[in-house]
Amino acid sequence: MRNRSVPLREVHVWEMPVRLYHWINALCITVLCVTGYVIGDPPAFMKGTEASFNYWFGTVRFIHFISAFLFFFNFIFRIYWGFTGNEFSRWYNFIPLKRCQWKEMLEVIKVDILQVTNKNIDSIGHNSLASFIYFITFLIFLLQCLTGFGMYAAMSNAFLPKLFSWIVPFLGGDMQVRQIHHVLMWGFILFAMIHVYLVFYHDYIERRGVTSSMIGGWKFIEEDVIERHDNRTEDCPKDI
């Protein structure tokens, strides 16, 4: 048996609210994708019966709408947490405004995607590329909420959905809104596939306990990485 020789330190990276957000979000997206797909292309498994005794499709739509509300408020909460949470959850991680963030992105592409260099990425929280991808997913979240509530607005008199009633005229009609909503669903599915794989990959290669970090919040980070992180002059590690 081999033993890791690098000295490690445990770092509390993901606070409780971030973890909670993550799992509520994961649950919502799973439910929304499944119910959404069923709404788009319902299986006709019932035949030879009357409508009086059944309501399963209505229930599927109901679950979709409830999950959508939960997803929406959860998303709003995450944005709020981007301004109050710890340094790893702050908004500036997600928007690449600094040169070093772009440099790190290139680095991540070389190391993790193309695997041409064998070197560890120093980021303790999300790496720059991951953050940027999350930023794009946040935009997709936003678009999905806009188009979803836009379609929902016509059948609701409630205050919140009514706020979105300008979406349909803005995009030209329900058909267009529905199409965008449907296409974006595939964005969620593709993201989920890649996301889950990359979590496993990072855990496998970096051995920092990424997978369990979203459960317990702790990551195992090399001492020297933490040292560099603490001694940095800007917000990014110096050597990148």
Binding site: P42, A44, G48, V168, M185, I194, Y197
Partner: protein
């Protein structure tokens, strides 16, 4: 001049319409417009006392199906009222005058009733080359812009005038534009549908006359009284949708039982119109009731969101019958293949790393294991 114009009622009576029929018409209109009971009185009073509306009715790039629908309105007075009684001063299809006289007629309306007359438009306006639609040597755009200058309001009949309809469908060779895109400064009422429901058309006219203002419009300029609900929300087959009972082909058991046509490409869930309530042909039926899915003819771009018999539209640029789902699935498979490839490379890398890593000297775990 004002007093010389007879009211709707006077003209209707002169044409042999009984008082009873007149009141029935007013009540029907009030119901279609969603007015309360007192609204009937308002309509009666307006039609009895107000002088008829001067109207100029243009036909541009269209098929005249809006006119055709209108003259087949369920209530005899509805068609009558506009086509005969509403002083239809200029209507290319139905007017007796032609050529020079016709041109004179509409110029006379503009001169006699500035700020009073209503411009009603059927058809879209070409902008790619104005010559695609010319009447009397002048282009549709010129005619419309001149007529609109002094009008009270513009009524855009049907999908052509409201959204461009088939002429504006990709690739839109004539650069067809709906009315509201080519004029400005005047209220435009988009009476959507291909064609619009006759009673909806009459309702809009009655509203204009009774209340002297344009009806409440939605975000796309359509009268809310008729276009605030989806065909789907007022469909009598809705219970089948909620129950998950769908027609799968036109001759299956579900079709016979009147199940929901959603899977046959019904655009009811994305179409705003009154088909489910007012219906067509004297409220006899409407497409869904006759077993055919809604094609969404009251929505902008419904030709480009086809095919009619499938719910998810084709994605432009990906060839025939390529939907978002097919593209999504393709990308999903590509992603899975990519992940598999990446995983293989990762494992090779991982194995190298493990080999290169020296066992820790003196580690307790190490020694216990080895011994």
């Amino acid at each position: 001049m004002e007093n010389q114009r007879p009211s709707f009622y006077e003209e209707a009576r002169g044409n042999g319409v009984s008082r009873r029929d007149f009141l029935k018409f007013c009540a029907t209109m009030a119901a279609f417009l969603g007015l309360e009971a007192s609204g009937i009185g308002q309509i009666v009073k307006a039609l009895e006392t107000k002088p008829r509306l001067p109207v100029i009715w243009f036909h541009f790039q269209e098929c005249t199906c809006c006119s055709e629908s209108f003259i087949r309105a369920s209530h005899p007075l509805v068609a009558d009222i506009v086509l005969n009684k509403i002083s239809l001063d200029y209507q290319e299809t139905l007017m007796a005058a032609s050529g020079f006289q016709a041109e004179e007629a509409y110029k006379a309306v503009m001169a006699k009733y500035p700020g009073e007359y209503i411009v009603m438009v059927e058809g879209s306006i070409p902008t790619e080359n104005e010559a695609y639609c010319c009447i009397g040597g002048r282009s549709a755009l010129q005619i419309l812009q001149e007529a609109v200058k002094n009008c009270k309001a513009v009524v855009a009949w049907g999908n052509c005038a409201s959204a461009g309809c088939v002429q504006a469908a990709s690739p839109n060779p004539t650069g067809a534009q709906p009315v509201h895109k080519v004029i400005s400064g005047k209220p435009v009422i988009n009476v959507q549908g291909c064609p619009p429901i006759a009673d909806v058309m009459a309702g809009v006219v009655v509203h204009l006359l009774t209340f002297d203002r344009i009806p409440q419009l939605d975000g796309l300029g359509r009268p809310q009284a008729f276009y605030s609900r989806r065909v789907h929300d007022t469909c009598y087959r809705r219970a089948n949708f909620d129950a998950g009972l769908f027609v799968e082909s036109f001759d299956d058991e579900g079709a016979k039982r009147g199940y929901c046509l959603y899977k046959m490409g019904c655009k009811g869930p994305v179409t705003y119109n009154s088909c489910g309530i007012i219906k067509w042909n004297d409220s006899v039926s409407y497409p869904i009731q006759s077993g055919h899915p809604c094609i969404g003819c009251a929505e902008a771009g419904f030709w480009d969101n086809g095919p009619f018999y499938q719910h998810l539209p084709e994605v432009a640029g990906f060839g025939i019958e390529t939907t978002a789902d097919k593209i999504g699935l393709g990308l999903g498979v590509a992603t899975a293949v990519g992940i598999a490839g990446h995983a293989i490379v990762t494992n090779i890398r991982k194995n190298k790393e493990i080999k290169n890593e020296e066992p820790v000297a003196g580690s307790k775990v190490e020694t216990t294991k080895q011994s």
